[in-house]
């Protein structure tokens, strides 16, 4: 939180996205902006919970959806119908709840999903519904990822085994490409997009020198044609195209008129300066003529000296030194951030109207109501089972692998767990299921009675089931068991770490006071009577 005033990016995905978050954070580090991530695999909850990283955020929210994850683990894709419905409902409510700019992307289906016609049908239908839902929403942009792997020369997109064992479906190389694309789009919301593209002609739009080679002697091969098509696309996105060339004007015009390879036409060009004056001077003149500041200009030229002199004279202009390797030029342009912009439409303008008087508080209240209703629809079932020998392995694993929702973060080995039980300690594993599926054993509580106090060295929950109030249910169930054992107080030691913010938030809710983010360990005492589900029975 070094610079809390600068909004950053918050990320939620249907899969493990730590690698992506790190790749994005690396790209933002210099700008002092942060990348925050919602708990693993959660989309609906962070779009409803007013305190989540997505809703408590005014920067850019990125939502990544791999459609097949909505029915992950189920034999029949229709198992994902319900979650898809929930998702579409919360997505369509996003503009009323959040002042952030939202980027929603459908990420590539796995090869396995593509090989199964039933899954293909389901994911394609899901993608269509998501696209139809998101497209009209103000402030919510669909990011197309088609061709991303090609553009970034990603050798392999999928990591099949990592997907199986860790729900990590993509390679680091793909995450890197995705991070670049998303961060660049996010940046365009912080900096104004450029408006004018000024193009050199010889060896930029075509190969050769028109004054020497003649209008038919210069060549427009596949690479140059892609450069011209790229510029037409820029024009379609609202940028103005200009020409700036050291030539006789008639020679340049002749190429546009006569060369059959030209895709760009003079009608596409808003203004031009063709002659023998320094290009920096021409750029200045164009800015006067168009009434647009030079900091909204991009200058594209293959000549290193021209580029250097414009950089030196007009540092506010974005200079793109285009490679003379025609085949490499389109790729260079695609990676050039000076051209980035989110497709801005009337939607963005309309967004201002979307917010009425005091909109935020009302939106948050509505969100909270919807959240409660969502949790009720989930029909979450939490069961606590006494820890037995057969569960010791899973319990030990939970103590080492849970980092987000763990109060003290203490790891236990299997022999240590057995030692605790043998010494009169108690333990419970927590199993969670809901209408979307069974999450298995995802929580653990360890306790040691000490007179009328129950010490709780471990209170943890896997991040898969965060934001569903499971932790509150666990605390109530623990209080019941403490009451039955004649204990009046629970002692919950905690130790803030870099990763256990969700656990700290829970302690703050329980205690009603702030729990320090700095590494200061402490103990929270909870009165059993405040939390027992049944009416408190006086301890004998």
């Amino acid at each position: 939180m070094s610079d809390a005033t600068k909004p950053g990016i918050a990320l939620a995905a249907t899969f493990t996205a730590d690698g992506l978050r790190d790749a994005m954070a690396r790209r933002l580090r210099e700008s002092g902006r942060e990348v925050l991530a919602a708990p693993y695999g959660q989309l609906v909850e962070p779009m409803l919970d007013p305190g989540s990283v997505l809703l408590a955020h005014a920067g850019v929210n990125v939502v990544l959806l791999r459609a097949e994850d909505l029915f992950r683990g189920a034999a029949d894709p229709s198992a994902g119908d319900r979650l898809l419905d929930e998702l579409l409902t919360v997505l369509s409510a996003v503009p009323g709840r959040s002042a952030a700019t939202w980027l929603v992307a459908l990420t590539p289906p796995s090869p396995a999903a593509l090989a199964d016609p039933a899954r293909v049908r389901w994911t394609e239908a899901a993608a269509r519904r998501i696209t139809e839902t998101v497209a009209p929403l103000p402030g919510v942009h669909l990011v197309a990822l088609d061709g991303l792997a090609d553009r970034y020369e990603v050798p392999e997109t999928h990591d099949e085994y990592a997907d199986r064992i860790a729900h990590l479906p993509y390679t680091d190389a793909y995450f890197d490409a995705l991070a670049d694309r998303l961060v660049r789009l996010a940046r365009t919301t912080w900096t104004k997009p450029r408006k004018v593209v000024v193009l050199d002609c010889d060896n930029t739009l075509w190969a050769g020198v028109c004054g020497e080679d003649g209008p038919l002697g210069v060549e427009v091969g596949a690479g140059r044609r892609s450069v011209q098509e790229f510029m037409l696309d820029q024009r379609a996105q609202g940028k103005l195209l200009c020409l700036c060339s050291r030539n006789e004007e008639a020679d340049v015009r002749a190429v546009f008129d006569e060369n059959p390879g030209m895709v760009l036409t003079l009608k596409d060009v808003t203004a031009h300066r063709i002659g023998w004056q320094p290009k920096a001077r021409y750029l200045y003149e164009l800015s006067q003529e168009l009434g647009l500041a030079l900091d909204s200009f991009v200058f594209v030229d293959d000549d290193a000296v021209e580029c250097a002199s414009v950089r030196a004279a007009l540092p506010e202009v974005a200079v793109v030194e285009l490679t003379r390797d025609a085949d490499a030029a389109p790729r260079q342009l695609a990676h050039e951030s000076a051209f980035d912009q989110l497709t801005v439409t009337d939607e963005d303008r309309l967004r201002a109207d979307w917010y009425g008087a005091e909109p935020e508080r009302r939106a948050l209240e509505q969100s909270l109501t919807d959240y409660e209703e969502f949790l009720a629809r989930c029909a979450i079932d939490v069961t606590m089972t006494p820890l037995t020998d057969s569960a010791l392995d899973r319990a030990a694993q939970l103590t080492t692998r849970t980092t987000q929702f763990t109060l003290a973060g203490t790891a236990f080995t299997v022999p240590e767990l057995r030692g605790l039980l043998d010494a009169g300690g108690r333990g419970w594993t927590v199993r969670v299921s809901d209408v979307f599926g069974d999450y298995g054993t995802v929580g653990l509580i360890l306790a040691r009675p000490d007179g009328d106090v129950l010490d709780v060295p471990v209170f943890l929950l896997s991040c898969r089931v965060l934001n569903r109030r499971v932790e509150t249910r666990m605390l109530r169930m623990l209080a019941d068991r403490a009451a039955a054992a004649g204990c009046r107080t629970l002692r919950l030691p905690y130790r803030p770490t870099a990763r256990n913010a969700p656990a700290r938030r829970f302690l703050e809710e329980v205690s009603g006071r702030a729990v320090g983010a700095e590494d200061a360990a402490g103990v929270l005492a909870v009165e059993v009577a405040d939390w027992t589900e049944a009416p408190a029975v006086a301890a004998p």
Partner: protein, 86 residues
């Protein structure tokens, strides 16, 4: 016996190679724990994925923890391969 030794050595070499590739190290000491070499849980998954591809062993996530060394992981891979052969 000799063949077994050869196999052991090649498994260990593969594990060392994979550690090196994933962690970006030229030289991997087989007795230094994964985390001390710069490994973390995400990289551990990448290592296991590579071993699955190269050696066709299906190891679970916890087979490679912070404290696991390349030598220990190689032993686990061998045990897995031997178990399957038996």
């Amino acid at each position: 016996m000799e063949a077994n030794e050869l196999k052991s050595r090649s498994v260990e070499n593969t594990v060392l190679d994979v550690f090196g590739t994933i962690l970006g190290l030229d030289d991997v000491d087989p007795d230094i724990p994964f985390a001390a070499l710069g490994g973390d849980s995400m990289r551990a998954v990448r290592v296991l994925s590579r071993l699955w591809r190269d050696l066709d062993v299906e190891l679970p996530v916890h087979a490679l923890g912070n404290d696991t060394t390349a030598a220990e992981l190689a032993a686990a891979v061998r045990a897995h391969l031997d178990g399957r052969a038996a």
